[in-house]
């Protein structure tokens, strides 16, 4: 006791008190600094919303809710509607997901179960690297290499083949341009593929080996283990990853802009040119003149932001829940 009191007395010198006070003041300043940096992030988010609403205001006032349901797009008469762009965005993203999710999960199964062990890391790394390739690269490849090839070797024979079949002739009819809605969806699916497969593989690897071994021990085949044990366990992560990919597909600009043809009409045929929200903005923004053209394009951006926000927020909340579960389990 006496020792403790002595130490206490030795420590409570004026120098120490000054040092503690100085340290405390520095702490408070530093904390405030990091706090304001965190606030910057929130301010940017609020700024994005506010500036989009502000920039779109003239169009919102002029068209109201009819902007979303109108198919008009006439810069000369200043009549604008978002429906063709929304339609293009939703259809290309839907088709891209339809193709990329099964193939991406297939790649993940291949990488976690089938691929010879020495090849797993190199192939996995290659796929992750490809996920980082800028979208403009996919765009330029789509325009110069894929679209011409697709036009000659797939579209033309396919259009001929379905020419007399009811329904199909409408969905896949029309002149084969090479570029169009379907081409954009294909490029988009190739683009989000590495993303989906690397997220899915990561989630598959979190499945405890014990669970799989138990299933194998009961006599399950490899497929049954994947389908009934691994996938249900990894469900939240796979869906969250797929939704992140959907968010990416919805907002993807350059890969789509190059190959979609920028046509503000809704065509029955999937091979016909179309447009998406982001492609309309990228294609027309710098040429937009007049009081309503630019605001209409910004309002398109606002709609895109809203849609991707809903998708991404859902994805994030699912992934947070997953993290909490993983944290609790370990």
């Amino acid at each position: 006791m006496a020792d403790a009191a002595l130490v206490e007395q030795m420590l409570s010198t004026p120098e120490r008190a000054a040092a503690v006070a100085k340290g405390g003041a520095r702490d408070a300043r530093f904390r405030a600094l990091t706090f304001s940096a965190a606030l910057v992030v929130v301010l940017v988010f609020i700024g994005v919303m506010a500036s989009l609403i502000d920039g779109a205001m003239p169009a919102i006032r002029a068209f109201g809710w009819s902007f979303i349901t109108s198919t008009a797009w006439n810069p000369v008469t200043e009549k604008f509607g978002a429906l063709p762009s929304i339609y293009g965005t939703l259809v290309t993203s839907f088709l891209a997901m339809l193709l990329a999710v099964p193939i991406g999960i297939g790649i993940a199964i291949f990488l976690t179960e089938i691929c010879p062990r020495p090849l797993r890391r190199p192939i996995g790394t290659a796929i992750e690297l490809l996920a980082g390739i800028p979208s403009i690269i996919y765009g330029i490849w789509g325009l110069f290499i894929f679209a011409p090839w697709f036009q000659v070797h797939v579209q033309t024979p396919f259009v001929d083949a379905v020419a007399d079949i009811p329904y199909l002739q409408d969905i896949f009819g029309g002149p084969p341009y090479g570029i169009g809605l379907f081409t954009a969806a294909l490029i988009l699916s190739i683009m989000i593929l590495p993303f989906i497969s690397s997220v899915t593989r990561d989630v598959f690897e979190t499945v405890p080996p014990m669970l799989k071994e138990a299933a194998y021990g009961l006599g399950c085949t490899t497929w049954e283990v994947m389908w009934r044990v691994v996938l249900p366990f990894a469900r939240t992560g796979v869906v969250g990853g797929a939704m992140l990919a959907l968010g990416r597909a919805l907002g993807e600009t350059m890969a789509v802009t190059f190959v979609i043809g920028n046509d503000h009409h809704i065509h029955e045929s999937l091979f016909a040119p179309a447009t998406t929200i982001s492609a309309s903005i990228a294609n027309e923004f710098t040429e937009a003149v007049g009081d309503l053209y630019t605001p209409a394009l910004i309002e398109l951006g606002l709609i895109l932001f809203f849609v991707t926000f809903v998708v991404l927020a859902g994805a994030q909340l699912m992934l947070y829940a997953l993290e909490r579960r993983a944290g609790g389990a370990s």
């Binding site: 965190a38 690269i137 990228a282």
Partner: protein, 301 residues
């Protein structure tokens, strides 16, 4: 008849083999596309690449030229964006990992940051467009900017500054996310040991945790560089383009992605060649940076 040869067993085994084969096919199919793209890019890129690409300016129609001003513009804008955004991102990540942690506000910041991280980059471009480019001479922002910077004011028109700002909006969330993750990997024992020596918390963070997480933070910054070096959409309506060598940040400036976009969609064959050369340069940069980042990345437990 043994169990192994029963119909049910054979059916299950067949089903498993068939579906696994299908997933191999999916993998081969999916990975092939990615290699086709890289193959076409390297072939067209290397056949279009020559010294003039690095030394000449972007040409007007009908003329010969290179990409020198676009390369310069990309390097300047990406460099400035990373330089300015990294401190903000690092500090915000520090708040989340060291101070906020489980608080309500930290949860909200984390959520908003993750949304910004995956929000479409074209939205970022629109944001800075409205904030900077769309301003009229009469707006308060423009008046303030003119008062401070004089004739160098960047408000009210396309400029390199606007391009830098839009890239910063992309860099900040990436750095926040990675630095938070990396700081959380630092063992608490280190913090406690430093605190027990009597170091104030801010010194603990600056001299111990940041240092311990340095490799990871550098990785995050590199990933952010890789991410923005191919960004086109946000630059289209902020920095626009410039056919001349420009070092004035208050004026429009060329960048590789925008030049690739404009040239690839043009009707001229030699512009297409330049677009391929630029695409190769960007991809090579992104791949190199990503590989370096991967080598630096600390092993996760």
């Amino acid at each position: 008849m043994s169990v192994v040869n029963s119909g049910l067993y054979m059916r299950r085994k067949f089903r498993s083999t068939a579906l696994l084969t299908l997933s191999v096919v999916a993998a081969v199919f999916g990975i092939d596309w990615l290699f086709f793209i890289l193959g076409a890019l390297f072939y067209n890129g290397f056949t279009s690449l020559d010294l003039k690409v690095f030394t000449s300016m972007t040409p007007p129609p009908g003329d010969d030229g290179g990409l020198a001003n676009a390369i310069f513009g990309s390097v300047v804008m990406s460099g400035l964006a990373v330089l300015l955004a990294t401190p903000i991102g690092l500090l915000a990540g520090t708040y989340l990992a060291e101070y906020g942690r489980y608080g309500r506000l930290a949860f909200f910041v984390r959520f908003v940051n993750d949304i910004l991280l995956s929000a479409p980059s074209i939205i970022t471009g629109l944001f800075i467009y409205v904030l900077v480019v769309y301003q009229t001479p009469a707006s308060y922002g423009t008046k303030l900017c003119t008062a401070v910077l004089g004739s160098n004011c960047f408000m009210g028109h396309f400029s390199a500054v606007a391009g830098v700002l839009s890239l910063m909006v992309i860099v900040i969330p990436v750095v926040v996310r990675t630095s938070e993750n990396m700081l959380l990997l630092v063992p608490n024992g280190l913090r406690e040991a430093a605190a027990a020596l009597g170091a104030p918390r801010s010194s603990v963070i600056r001299t111990v945790t940041w240092r311990a997480a340095r490799a990871g933070i550098v990785t995050g910054v590199l990933l952010a560089v890789a991410r923005i070096s191919g960004e086109t959409a946000p630059l289209l309506f902020t920095a626009l383009n410039n056919n001349f060598w420009s070092t004035d940040l208050s004026q429009p400036i060329a960048s590789l992605p925008v030049v690739i976009y404009l040239y690839a969609t043009s009707a001229y064959e030699y512009w297409h060649r330049l677009a391929w050369a630029g695409a190769l340069l960007i991809t090579a940069t992104v791949l190199t940076i990503s590989i370096i980042a991967r080598l630096l990345q600390p092993k996760r437990s």
